[in-house]
């Protein structure tokens, strides 16, 4: 929208300029040059307006939102093993600082410091404050300033890990673990991912090695953030930067172990199947038609199919398909979950449960064109410019009186 003012205004500025020039009695040659410049400028502005119109119709709106708060809960002590099984867990000491807090079950909660979440793509980057120091006998490893990146298979937990195994002189953030990104749970203004299975990367395992002999699965990671009301270009930039930053070494052990995931969802891959619609498989819908219908209200005679209530066999963490974060898994719609059984035989309209599919649309349908207004403005500007130019052309002939 901002660019439209320029092409609309441009010709007038040029005319003003020309009139001022004309006030000074310019020579014919000079005036000819001025007019040529005028005509060319007018054409250029027309072209600019057209280009502006095209650009306006394909404008990119920032969709990412700033993270305004939230927490990261990481059962970091799981790397030490279970207390009481003779592992290092019994001897370990866990200390937190910088805003992190220790929960009763041994997990550590970090407060969110900043970040961005894009509801259009489902990608997120959240940075957290605080650090946790694990001490087993004399060996100490500290994990500071975690950062979570949610981007399909590239989802990762980064942190600055310092300890005996630190190879570099200065601590740098490394990818500690790969995360099995599940579908986020969305409520108004907040996004959360529950119990993401974390698998240590080679680097992460090496960093934590002094504490534990077990590698592989780290404690599950849960995070929830609140996001700003509206999209923010800064957040978009931050997210783009975080996504562009290549992880140091994409290790071969990036595959995710389903066993480590406490969420029994079928969604260890980055593209979880929509939970609500998967349950709409043929068998429940078949039972729906044979089941006795409860019709509480006489007016609507709504027969709520029990398949709706019987279906929540999916994990609680995977939210139903309404989440807009389905673009990383933009697969063709797996199953039309809709029951096409619109069968009120005697005219009693039926009411059945249905859900929209995931991965179906990332945006609402485009129902209008943005170029009409700029195009019309450009057209009017061209006509006005043309009329003025013609008038000037007529006037020029009588200048001979002056000589």
């Amino acid at each position: 929208m901002g660019g439209q003012g320029l092409p609309g205004f441009g010709p007038w500025v040029v005319y003003l300029w020309w009139l001022v020039m004309n006030g000074v009695r310019a020579s014919r040659r000079r005036r000819a040059r001025n007019l040529t410049v005028l005509a060319v400028t007018q054409l250029a502005f027309g072209a600019m307006a057209t280009l502006g119109a095209m650009a306006a119709s394909a404008s990119d709106i920032p969709t990412a939102r700033t993270v305004t708060g939230g927490t990261l809960t990481w059962a970091v002590s799981d790397v030490l093993g279970r207390p009481g099984d003779g592992s290092t867990a019994d001897k370990a000491k866990i200390e937190v600082s910088g805003g992190a807090e220790k929960l009763s079950d041994g997990a550590v909660r970090f407060p969110a410091k900043g970040g961005a979440f894009d509801p259009a793509t489902g990608r997120a980057v959240v940075t957290y404050a605080g650090s946790v120091t694990l001490t087993v006998e004399h060996r100490t490893v500290s994990v500071a300033a975690p950062q979570v990146l949610v981007d399909g298979e590239r989802s990762a937990l980064r942190a600055t890990v310092t300890g005996p195994a630190q190879v570099h002189g200065t601590a740098v953030a490394i990818d500690v673990a790969r995360l099995a990104a599940t579908r986020p749970h969305l409520t108004s203004g907040s996004v959360s991912w529950a119990d993401l299975a974390a698998t240590a990367t080679e680097q992460g395992a090496a960093s934590l090695a002094p504490l534990t002999t077990s590698t592989g699965s780290l404690g599950p990671v849960s995070l929830g953030v609140t996001v700003g009301e509206s999209a923010d270009p800064d957040a978009q930039r931050e997210l783009a930067l975080a996504l562009a930053a290549e992880s140091p070494t994409p290790s071969a052990s990036a595959s995710v172990s389903p066993s480590g995931s406490p969420s029994a969802s079928p969604s260890t891959s980055s593209c979880p199947s929509p939970s609500a619609s998967t349950s709409g498989s043929p068998s429940p819908s078949a039972s729906a038609s044979t089941s006795p219908s409860t019709s509480p209200s006489a007016s609507a005679s709504a027969s709520t199919s029990p398949s709706a209530s019987a279906s929540p066999s999916t994990s609680p963490s995977a939210s139903p398909s309404a989440s807009p974060s389905n673009s990383p898994c933009a697969s063709p719609s797996p199953s039309p979950s809709e029951s096409p059984s619109e069968t009120p035989t005697d005219g009693g309209p039926s009411t059945t449960y249905t859900t929209i599919e995931a991965a179906n649309s990332n945006t609402l349908a485009k129902t209008g064109d943005g170029f009409l207004v700029p195009l019309t403005m450009a057209g009017v500007a061209l006509i006005v410019g043309g009329v003025f130019t013609l008038r000037i052309a007529r006037r020029g002939g009588y200048a001979s009186d002056d000589f």
Partner: protein, 230 residues
Amino acid sequence: MVADQRATTGVVDDEFWEPPWRPVVRGAGEILITLGLLFCLFAAYEFYGRSWRIEAEQDQVDSVLDRQWKEPGSAVPVDGQPIARVHIPKLHRKWAVVEGVTTGDLRKGPGHYPGTARPGQVGNMAIAGHRIPSVFWDIDRLRDGDAIVAETKTGWYVYRVVGLRKVLPTQVEVIAPDPFHPGARPRTPMLTLTTCNPKLQNWQRLVVFAELDRAQARSQGRPAELEEAR
């Protein structure tokens, strides 16, 4: 006109001397006016012409729908084929809604987001339509309590508007089964209209939410809401 003068005078004389740059400027001016007119005419065609084309398509789709409803059995929605009729008595409008929201589908009239609920189902029946005079041009005039009536082969479903919202195109939660609690299990049958906002622009979407008020069988005749509007 001026060119004629020069042609008749032939030789340059003082009275009608024409500077040599004048034909150039005149030509430029004429080109500018022509281009401007073309731009304006094209814009007008895009606006009124599309509106007119959709009206023509609607006539055709409407008759297809009538034919479908005469046949026995219930039709599975096919992309681009009509699935229901939607009336907005306050605006004195009705459309045959086609399945699908691609550009091609929306060329025929309002489109039903695939996979969303069908009329009367618990969930959200989401419909997209162009913001042009023959479609959803003035749905911003709808207010809470206004009726939106969906007509199917078997019955009438009277929805009442419960809210309007302006959102970004990416906020697809408005067509979630429960648009007010995205991710939650829907409990009521909803109907949602989406169109571009503001008028003649497309950087926002205007969304109208409506909730099912009552349903009545076809055998009970047209709902009173439609008769009132007549």
